[in-house]
Symmetry: C2
Subunit: 263 residues, 2 copies
Amino acid sequence: MLHILVTNDDGIDSKGIHALVHELRSFARVTVIAPDRQQSAVGHALTVADPLRATPFHRDGELFGFAVSGTPADCVKLGLTTLMSEKPDLVVSGINHGANTAVNVVYSGTVSAATEGMIMGVPSIAVSLCNFDPDADCTAAAHFAGIIVRHALDLNIPTGSILNVNVPALPREEIQGIKFVPLSRGYWDDRYDVRSDPMQRTYYWIHGTYHVPAGEHESDDGALADGYVAVTPIKFELTDRPTLASLASRFNELQNGAGANPR
Amino acid sequence: MLHILVTNDDGIDSKGIHALVHELRSFARVTVIAPDRQQSAVGHALTVADPLRATPFHRDGELFGFAVSGTPADCVKLGLTTLMSEKPDLVVSGINHGANTAVNVVYSGTVSAATEGMIMGVPSIAVSLCNFDPDADCTAAAHFAGIIVRHALDLNIPTGSILNVNVPALPREEIQGIKFVPLSRGYWDDRYDVRSDPMQRTYYWIHGTYHVPAGEHESDDGALADGYVAVTPIKFELTDRPTLASLASRFNELQNGAGANPR
């Protein structure tokens, strides 16, 4: 039987992980190891300077999983190395309350958990719902996550890549299907509110607006706007190989031109 | 005059950032905006649920920069959007106390600060010294960072990429030169110590050993082992485009073969 490690970044008591686990348990064995509290925008943080705790977490009178005092990446690493007696077939992270498209994957704890699974050698999937409301209806997202997870092993996700899945905030019957699309070039126009605390000391609070440039129809954001589930393979082969050689020769020219010495 | 935003992840009072700023101030205007405390392995975290503070930080009786109550990515975003009145020409993050080669760039706060600079449209460089000792000699690393920073604008770092620089822990005269190389396939064999606290409750503490597979000579780890400064362009174009089309058609086959309906 398919064995899946499920985690998330909204915390083990969130609605999204509950809906996901409920769906996956209809056809797979599921081990839940998730943060004991909200960990959004935590990136790929790993707790090294402090110890971690793992506490059994019950839901509806049954053991649901383990709540870990760490980040999504901590949950996956601790689970795969220590808490689980055997390696699962898949890691699934989600369902996140909020989209993880475009540049957002860089900041996303949900995506980082899947990335950690991939780094540890397990095929991994991140699932997000395009609705930040912690009380959002996750039924459709769980349904589509189930379809993709059922096919995940046969898909042969390439080594070094994860699948990043975003589901539009629509009722199931209004979702048009599943599209494999690249990340969009969407970006945040970030600003900070500059405020004064009661002691007249300045503090700063981030707020931003998200923009998708025109001409991004064939992308995750484009597919979602059209009512499709967007699936993007994300590859953490970070070396910019196409420019490596040209940068090296340009640097040598600059050094020689300037008469500089590498020592 | 070249204007550089300098940040790091070891905190504004670390030796590495001091050595870097001292070197860069010999030929550039430098604004320092760095975390008020150690932020290692913080990944690309962004503080959204809490406000940020920025406090003037003095060193040797002079204003050194601003200490921010956040992550390296916070420092760059707050600096570029709010604290600085004009956009700098470059963001330089470091000098990190410890190597950031191979997969370590995924976890690195040093690299995430440079990545945030790139996301915000500023050419960015991360600099790390292969020595975790907070009291390590940073002279050689600062010297080579200076050489690379002097040429950085003329290098025309491609949009979407940063330069990741690692300097071996050697005296300057023993360093062989500068090599442009890909990230290695080095990996961590991570384990957790399972311990009991004074109340007999279990806790877990990560420890790992780093391995570089054989045949990785032409890489950052390989260059460092040979005594070279390793420079790697890192590109955050995360879509796995080569496999996008084949995954999509394989998924369609699987759905049809299984008679499943995307709804």
